[in-house]
């Protein structure tokens, strides 16, 4: 269970309050208007933004003071998820250890995970030689290999076409959630949430609401979500 306890985030004249619990092993979508603070919440959970007050805890352990690298968190950003000057295998290998030298068993792990996301044999290429969808798969392969229980997705597939995006979301569900990882994803597209999310939390008006089961929420949206959806 990921718990944000009286969490208050502030920068410039923006502020966001979160006092919510996210279920472990589930996919939770964060939905809401742009600028509401969805990415900010993820940044705080990942450790990039120290909260003004409150605590973040994972599996009963307070992680508020931990550095981003020490947290049980893998994160995919909107862009720049791969280092362009490193090969795909090197990029993915960073999930195993922060450095470029891998043992032969680690290298076969990299090959295996690349195969599992449909990138077999592409390890020696640089990101620029891959399509957008393949780059997303490579980034996902790194997250798979990193073996950290909490995965934060800050709209990493937003630049893909609808068909590819759907494929990637399905891959997230099959490869991550179905194997016990806890996934939190930012989205502004209700269809993304309906496609894979178990629960949805609305971020609007400076507050993060409690996550509610996806189908029920969309059938009977609260006022903030209704306003966002234009209903």
């Amino acid at each position: 269970m990921l718990i944000c306890e009286d969490l208050e985030l502030r920068y410039d004249d923006f502020s966001l309050r979160a006092d919510v619990r996210f279920a472990a092993g589930a996919i939770t979508a964060l939905i809401g208007p742009s600028g509401a603070g969805k990415s900010t919440l993820l940044a705080a959970i990942a450790g990039f933004l120290p909260p003004a007050s409150g605590r973040v805890s994972w599996a009963g352990m307070d992680i508020t003071a931990q550095s981003p690298a020490d947290r049980p968190v893998s994160m995919l950003f909107q862009d720049n998820n791969l280092f362009p000057h490193l090969t795909i295998a090197q990029n993915v290998g960073l999930g195993l250890r922060p450095g470029l030298r891998l043992s032969s068993s680690q290298m076969s792990q990299v090959d295996a995970v690349l195969e599992s996301v449909g990138l077999a044999g592409m390890g020696t290429r640089k990101p620029a030689a891959l399509s957008g969808g393949q780059q997303s798969r490579a980034a996902l392969a790194r997250v798979l290999l990193a073996d950290r229980p909490l995965v934060l997705l800050d709209e990493p597939f937003a630049a893909l076409g609808p068909n590819l995006k759907g494929e990637m979301l399905d891959l997230v569900k099959q490869r991550l959630a179905d194997q016990g990882r806890t996934v939190m994803m930012v989205t502004h597209d209700p269809d993304d949430a309906k496609r894979i999310a178990d629960a949805v939390a609305v971020v609007a008006d400076g507050v993060v609401s409690d996550p509610a089961p996806t189908a029920a929420l969309f059938d009977n949206p609260p006022s903030a979500l209704a306003a966002y959806l234009g209903r």
């Binding site: 690298a69 280092f83 362009p84 000057h85 490193l86 960073l94 922060p98 470029l100 640089k126």
Partner: protein
Amino acid sequence: MAQRAITISPRWPGVLAGALVLVLTLGTLAAVALRAELTTGLGTADWAAIRFTVVQAFLSALISVVLAIPVARALARRRFWGRQAFITLLGAPFLLPVIVAVVGLIAVFGRNGILNSTMIWAGIEPISIYGFHGVILAHVFFNLPLAVRFILQGWLAIPSERFRLAASLNAPIGRVLEIPMLRAVVPSTFLVIFLICLTSFAVALTLGRGPKSTTVELAIYQALRFDFDLGRAAMLACIQFGLCAVAAVIAWRVTGVDAMGAGFDRTVTRWDKRRPFWDYLAIALAALFLLIPLAMVVLRGLPGLLIMPSSVWLAAVRSVLVAIGSATLCCTMAIALGLLGGRAVAVVGVLPLAASGLVVGTGAFLIVYPFVSPSDVALVITMLVNATLALPFVLRAIGPAIVAVHDDFGRLAVSVGLTRWRWLWVVVLPRIRRPLGFGAGLSAALSMGDLGVIALFAGKAEETLPLAMHRLMGAYRMDAAAGAAVLLLGVSLLIFWICDHWGRGDVDL
């Protein structure tokens, strides 16, 4: 979104580099000042040197900027074969060893030069290149191209849509677009050149004649070399520091353009292109002014290569070693400071612009004097001084690149656990390879051509190539000096090309 500085890189190398720069600039000044007996006031010769320094720097900057405007305007609105090559050539004088350019200028404007030969043939009284106008001529030669590049950048920064709008409204382009741009760009260009000319040493050493054309830097050299008067040298050094500091602060405040900026390949479509004659005339005159002296260096020097004493080759080897050391140190410091970032680093990074190379060298010498003899450390001190003086330019090239890497990949690196040294090796260095190569080439070439502090201490056994060349000129062995000039020019450009080329290879951006 939530962008915040995350500490990724180790901090102590930057702190160490900053401390080294402070010691080498302010510390050396203090070392000189402490040794000085500040009893004597400023003599008339000192006042003359100050006046000359400011006046020549002012005139050099003024003439460079005024002449640069028509050339930049012509380059901005004309497209012709060789335009890109010409713009690249405009970057060359920055790398050109001063003493090489002086040889070229003497070949054109000197007593037996092309110009005077023609004038004598036409029955006109010949002119002398030595003294006040010679110093200004050399400064304009160096800084006119720089001014053209600055101002051209201003012109190319005007969006083409504005020209289209102005053309469709039939508005006067000069008044609505060009004059406002020049008002923004010219003052900063002027100040940068003014600052460069304030610190002039090698030009005044070779072309200045007598007390009437002595710069403060040259006066420091004379006080140290001939009178060994530390007090006067320290006082002049403080004055020099003050002059440069004021100019540097103003220049850095006014300057928005990047001296080494790339990408001049855009030609804006314009609708005011009548009268091409004047544009091409401006370009042709500028090209002749730059190319003829360089061509003369090569023409006169090639035969000279064969008659150079063998000591010149040894000096060349020494110079290359000093250049490699200086470039390595300079780039290391620039990377360390760039990783540290922040306002203090920005100040430390420009501090060397206000420092006198001679004072830095003298101070360093005074600090180590109790332990070693001056000629033993002449090359090491030269290396230190060169690295320090090149730092502002290299930091300007590398610093923004490091910031960009940090902004683009800092969070990714932290989230996969790449911090400290791994962040440097795995991410930063590969991604700043291009500006790093450029910076290394720049600092190596600047060090290669430096004729400054080395002139104070070096005996025959520590001669660098520019010094060997200067001594050949002093002995009126002009043919051998011309040969050394070709060698120096070739090696400087080659070493720059190697570094810059390395930086451009195998990058995936």
